[in-house]
Structures are given as structure tokens and as C-alpha cells.
């Protein structure tokens, strides 16, 4: 009986699944931004903005037994606005390490306002930096910074939303 149980355990030890999802996207709730147009001023730094995305429920949990080789490869972040985004000249997206981590911020991608003009959305894409080490309790914090053109900023308030997309890979096994 003991030998049979050992055989079953050995069989199950080799039993697992590799999962891959080309695109997992988290859409954050929209938020309202207050803005003031400043005629004559064409460049100003954009103070760092922190955006948090909760994606733990779509990622294998390394703290559970049998979970290993987890990767979350950054693919894109899209920012949508109810107003033109022409006031954003450049944008750099960085992953912020968890509190107490020895990691440094990782640059995920940059945006440069197109010469042809901007619409109401900004997309920053990447070839796939692994941001899994930057997750804390399934939550990823991104820092947006860059430069703006205040002479083209919307007057009053506007609504903005963000969508973060990544490729998720991982292995789960019984033991």
C-alpha cells in the first residue's frame, strides 16, 4: 500500500501544466484630471504620476505549492482621455520596485508626441520586460514622467483611463 502511494506521488510530481496567455489586460477605473492651459509656455516637466494595476488574480501565485517559472512580460500601456493628448510631449513609463526591494526602477517604454499631431490616446509598447519581480501582492505600480506643453493643455477638467497589458507565463504542478 505504501509502495503504491509512493508510485502515485512520483507520478503526480511529474504532472503539471505550462500556461501562456499572450495578452492579459487590466483596465483601471477612469479618473478626473484638473488642467489649466497656459498660453505662451510650451514646455514644462510632468511631475511623476503613479498608476497601480492589480493583476494578482490572473497570475500564478508563487507562494502556492507547485507554482514556478512565472513571468509577466510587459506589452503595452494605453492612456485614453476625453480631451486631446497633444499637450503631452514626451512620456517615460517605469516600473516601481516593491517597498524594501533592492531593485531599481525599470524603464518599460517611452512616448514621443508624433509630428502629425496627437489624438485622444497615448500608447507605449515594449518588447517584453519581465515585470514580475516588481509585483507586490499582485499589484504593479508604474511611474509616468516626462514633459508637457502647457500651451496645449485642455482647460478645465477631463477624464482619463489607463489599460496595462502583459503576456503571462507560468508553470503549475501538483507537487
Amino acid at each position: 500500500m505504501r509502495a503504491a502511494r509512493a508510485l502515485v506521488l512520483i507520478a503526480l510530481a511529474g504532472c503539471g501544466a505550462d500556461l501562456q496567455v499572450d495578452r492579459v489586460c487590466v483596465t483601471s477605473p477612469s479618473y478626473t484630471v484638473a488642467s489649466t492651459r497656459v498660453p505662451g509656455v510650451t514646455t514644462a516637466p510632468l511631475p511623476p504620476i503613479l498608476l497601480a494595476f492589480t493583476m494578482g488574480s490572473a497570475i500564478p501565485d508563487l507562494t502556492r505549492s507547485g507554482v514556478h517559472d512565472v513571468h509577466v512580460l510587459f506589452r503595452s500601456i494605453a492612456l485614453d482621455s476625453t480631451q486631446s493628448t497633444a499637450f503631452v510631449t514626451t512620456l517615460t513609463v517605469k516600473a516601481v520596485p516593491p517597498f524594501g526591494s533592492t531593485l531599481s526602477k525599470a524603464t518599460l517604454g517611452t512616448y514621443q508626441r508624433p509630428a502629425a499631431g496627437a489624438g485622444t490616446s497615448i500608447e507605449v509598447t515594449s518588447d517584453g520586460t519581465d515585470v514580475f519581480p516588481y509585483l507586490q501582492s499582485g499589484r504593479l505600480v508604474l511611474e509616468l514622467s516626462g514633459a508637457i506643453d502647457p500651451s496645449q493643455a485642455p482647460s478645465g477638467t477631463f477624464t482619463a483611463g489607463a489599460q496595462f497589458c502583459a503576456e503571462v507565463q507560468g508553470s503549475v504542478s501538483y507537487l
Binding site: A11, L12, G14, C15, G16, A17, D18, L19, Q20, V21, D22, R23, V24, C25, V26, T27, S28, P29, F53, T54, M55, S57, A58, I59, P60, D61, R64, S65, G66, V67, V168, V172, S173, Y174
Partner: protein, 102 residues
Amino acid sequence: MEGGRSFDADLRSPLSGLNFPAAMRASLSSAGYTYVSALFGLELGDPERTTFFVRAGLTRAWSTLNGIDHFANGSGSVLNSSPIHLAAWAPAASIGLAVGIW
């Protein structure tokens, strides 16, 4: 060696031992899979008529599950995904009777 394709079925119970991400568990409720098995075992009887067999081995299975359509993630954020690709190793065993009909 044997292989095949299963019809869509609810795989949540057979795969409950795997620590699947919470948002993806619903995708297991209707999934088919393609498999190839390598089995070794014993066959007793007359190969021309009735044979009793016991086999065990390993299976490699592939499945593409439906993506996450809309998973409320707390704090107002929403998750969705493209289809989920799975490739799994699993032990396989079969026991039965093979009856020759001609």
C-alpha cells in the same frame, strides 16, 4: 502510443489540484484537449479474439481555453485576456478488454 481529441468538458474538478490563477478558473468549465500518450503494459489473452490489458504511462495534452472576458478585480479595475494556452504532462493508465470482431 495513442492520441486523440476530447470533447469540451468541465475540467475544474480534475484540475483542481493545480494552483490556477483565480481569474482563469472559470475558463476550465468548458475545455477540450488534444493528447498523445505513451503507454506500457501487459496484454493477456488471444490477440485474435479477446485480450485483457493493463497499461500505464505518460500523457502530453494541449488545450486552448477561453480567455477571461470580464473579471472584476476589485477597486473598480477589470481584467480580460486573450485565449489561455495550456500544455500539460499527466500520468495515464488504462485497463480493459479488447474484443476482435473480425
